[in-house]
């Protein structure tokens, strides 16, 4: 029921909106379930859409109860944040622009406006209070819009992050060259994130293949700065701790010069000019040798 002060005036618009949402929960949910935002996302049954709508009504009532109608981080939203994100993402996958999704959300206000107005008129609320309640409702729906857009955006960001990581992994193939020898040919610029992935992928392969020798071939790497060199050294040290030896091959003359200029000490790292030399070194250490055909005859 509308909240009245002792003298009969209406004083608390957020409380009014909260009570209204709780009172008309069923009716609002039924109306919302027919809106495209719910209808096209919750397709299993109409009941599913109604339930989803009820969850949002409850969340809005809770936010109003806490008098945080302007706060997208209000605790009341947390129970429906995931659902709202899913709704936003689904609409966006259906080809809607951010603006279109936003106006679909704005249209959720209409099914609330008329019943609220009717309730207030029936209770003979003064005009000022009616206006305050309508403003509160508008703000609340506006905040809901912000929550959905925020969630959808962060979902998008998460997707981009995931894809970036997948791309890194795809760009880092570990090749088994021989029993006990694996190699990673690195192509392109090595940044911090990529170096990390390279390190992890190579070390995982060392365990999987029980590879005592791991070759990092940097023939395709245009530049090596001190950060990349540091990563290479760390990879070598970590492999050593696991019981494997790392060989860095394909250090081009320009890179060799840079390394010397930067004053980097690769002293503890086994290096070879090319991948073939590195392989020959590892084979030799494993006790396998390569002999020319002529020597076998």
């Amino acid at each position: 029921m509308p909240e009245h002060a002792a003298d009969g005036t209406f004083v608390n618009p957020t409380g009014e909106v909260r009570d209204f949402l709780r009172r008309r929960r069923e009716q609002i949910a039924q109306r919302w379930a027919d809106e495209p935002l719910f209808r096209t996302v919750f397709t299993v049954s109409r009941d599913e859409a109604v339930e989803a709508a009820k969850a949002v009504v409850d969340a809005l009532a809770e936010v109003a109860d806490a008098a945080r109608v302007e706060d997208p981080d209000a605790a009341g939203f947390s129970s429906v944040r995931e659902q709202l994100g899913r709704m936003g993402t689904a609409r966006s996958r259906a080809g809607l622009s951010a603006g279109q999704i936003s106006s679909e959300l704005a249209s959720l206000r209409l099914p609330l406006e008329n019943p609220l107005l009717a309730d207030l008129q029936e209770a003979e609320a003064p005009e000022g209070h009616v206006r305050a309640c309508m403003t509160t409702l508008t703000v609340l729906i506006g905040t809901l819009r912000v929550v959905v857009m925020q969630t959808a955006l962060s979902e998008g960001q998460a997707l981009i992050d995931r894809q970036r990581l997948q791309l890194l992994e795809v760009a880092t193939p570990v090749i088994k060259l021989w029993d006990g020898i694996v190699a990673v040919p690195l192509i392109g610029t090595l940044d911090s994130a990529r170096s990390q992935v390279v390190m992890e992928t190579l070390l995982e392969a060392v365990v999987e293949q029980q590879a005592r020798y791991a070759i990092l071939d940097i023939t395709g790497v245009p530049t090596v700065d001190s950060l990349v060199a540091q990563h290479l050294m760390k990879t070598v040290a970590a492999a050593r701790l696991m019981g494997a030896e790392c060989i860095v091959s394909g250090i081009r003359p320009a890179i060799a010069q840079t390394i010397v200029h930067l004053g980097l000490d690769l002293g503890t790292v086994v290096t070879r000019a090319g991948l073939a030399d590195a392989l020959a070194y590892a084979l030799h250490k494993l006790g396998a040798g390569i002999v020319a055909d002529a020597d076998l005859r």
Binding site: S154, A158, S192, Q196
Partner: protein, 146 residues
């Protein structure tokens, strides 16, 4: 979507048994927030170093863990506090090889390299508070050498 349930906690650090609890709590919290295996291991190791400092140098204290959110990234913050004698020279304590007993002198400086954010407050006689945070989906920023 990850929730804070099971992530936020306050654990006592009074004995070397408690170190095991601290490690297990941090492991579970980090896994729950979606940290990868390597990042989990780094965080647990950092927690182990810092908890041992709290125990050995601070005479015991607590670890508090908090769940942070920044956009799509989840953060795990660990706060170690003790009421011990404090550290007179924080810079020196952070340098590798520094130790006033026991370990390999990798405690503070080593722990700092394993997390994304590191802050320490200490003064002689006023105890020590170390606050570390790591985030999911972020590579450690390149760190200047100290």
């Amino acid at each position: 979507m990850h929730t804070a349930a099971g992530v936020e906690a306050r654990l006592p650090i009074r004995s070397d048994m408690d170190l095991v609890w601290v490690r297990q709590h941090v492991r579970q919290a980090a896994a729950q927030l979606g940290f990868g295996l390597v990042d989990q291991t780094k965080l647990v190791t950092a927690a182990s170093e810092l908890a041992r400092n709290t125990l050995v140098y601070g005479g015991g204290g607590t670890m508090e863990s908090q769940h942070l959110v920044d956009g799509s990234s989840h953060g795990l913050r660990l706060v170690f506090s003790d009421q011990g004698p404090g550290i007179a020279d924080v810079e020196q304590a952070l340098s590798d090889g520094y130790t006033s007993g026991g370990g390999l002198g990798m405690g503070l400086g080593g722990a700092r390299r394993l997390v994304h954010e590191f802050a320490i407050e200490s003064a002689p006689g006023a105890g020590t508070t170390v606050r570390v945070t790591s985030w999911t989906g972020r590579t450690p920023r390149p760190r200047e050498e100290h």
